[in-house]
Subunit: 235 residues, 2 copies
């Protein structure tokens, strides 16, 4: 009605699966697509809305419009707004989790490389961009008063923290440092989150590059034997 209706077959559905966030305004409002595709599509539209308007201004209508679908659609695929938001948070959590686990695996067995890989992973474009950071922050703002969000909202959860502590302990032993691993791991992970917050706020003095630079500087002063200080960056 709003747009011309075109027949959409399985080929198009597959295409939509590969490009779920596309703005394609032509075929989307068509007919069928697999349940998973539609849900993904709605979740992406939710992230968009969160990033654009913030948590409190994100409405079902805006999500539906953003996906190019009708108003009632969200309640069909997700039971309620609340459940849509939980699913969205879960999706972001899964994505983030998979990302750092993958980075860790590719880093080999050397603890110093592993820690560096984790730090770098945090500032990867696929994870660390305005849209996603804004969505994360929208959830953070509500997490304290919503038990359901709390568990998922700290992207860097207990497992992540444990790995950080273990890595710090390894480096301490091999480098002969004096600090307490738990304390250093807390300082490090807190700094990473703080840099995210800075990036999200969008003060122009902090970019993804300078944030990564600051994180590396931290590694250099905390673990000088493993990350010798020199110019790792360019202007």
């Amino acid at each position: 009605m709003l747009e011309t209706v075109t027949r959409m077959k399985t080929a198009n559905a597959r295409e939509a699966l590969l490009e779920p966030a596309r703005k394609a305004d032509s075929e989307k409002r068509g007919r069928k697509a697999s349940k998973e595709v539609r849900q993904l599509q709605l979740i992406e539209a939710t992230i968009d809305s969160l990033a654009r308007r913030g948590y409190s201004e994100t409405t079902m209508a805006d999500v539906a419009d953003g996906a190019g679908l009708s108003r009632g659609i969200v309640n069909f695929h997700f039971e309620s707004k609340e459940k849509l938001l939980v699913a969205t948070l879960q999706h972001m959590y899964d994505e983030y989790s998979a990302h750092w686990r993958n980075a860790l695996q590719r880093a080999g067995d050397e603890p110093a490389n592993q820690l560096h890989a984790l730090v770098c992973a945090d500032f990867d474009r696929s994870i660390c961009n305005k849209r996603k950071l804004a969505a994360w922050c929208a959830f953070w703002g509500e997490a304290k008063s919503r038990p359901t969000y709390q568990a998922l909202s700290s992207a860097r959860d207990a497992v992540y923290q444990t790995i950080f502590i273990d890595l710090c302990a390894s480096l301490k032993q091999s480098g002969g440092y004096a600090y307490e691993p738990q304390v250093m791991a807390l300082a490090l992970s807190a700094m990473l989150e703080g840099l995210w917050l800075r990036l999200m706020m969008g003060t122009e003095d902090t970019t993804r590059e300078t944030a990564l630079q600051a994180a590396n500087e931290f590694l250099s002063v905390a673990f000088p034997k493993h990350y010798p200080l020199k110019a790792a960056v360019k202007p």
Copy 2:
């Protein structure tokens, strides 16, 4: 205008300031109180509501109830909900700003002492408590999509950051360190914000004491000549 609200000093105002969250159902709903007292009272009730229910669930009715006043009261003292929230954020900003400026002034002329004082100030009970942190985070979650909040929402603003950079530069010179002051200042201030975020989330592994400990550990590894590593202590 908004600043004058937070800067009032009648006897009644001070009394209300000391016991802002009081439930007193007897005298409050009574009749008169100075305009400033009422506004302060409503701002405190707003912080309560933000901390208890989060930004999106904070309603005018809840604020009015929390203050023990009638429904229409907020629109009388503040023109709208939006303006109430801006005034609340401004109030928190002023308070935070005054706090670290005061700490800086008391620290004397030694840069090392000044930096340490700023770090400690961040974890002072009067500033760093569940209620206030939750309110900060509520605003952070909305800041990106609200220009009005953006300027005020980064409690540690441009001035603060400049002071950090200058202090890092001073310490670099007197200690002969190799880092770039800007980068180190960013790492440090980001870590402080990240620790706040942790505290706010309320994961039980992070307390005000362990957060301060982590911050001091950072100072020790970044500026070893100025903060020799040993028992990190509290004020």
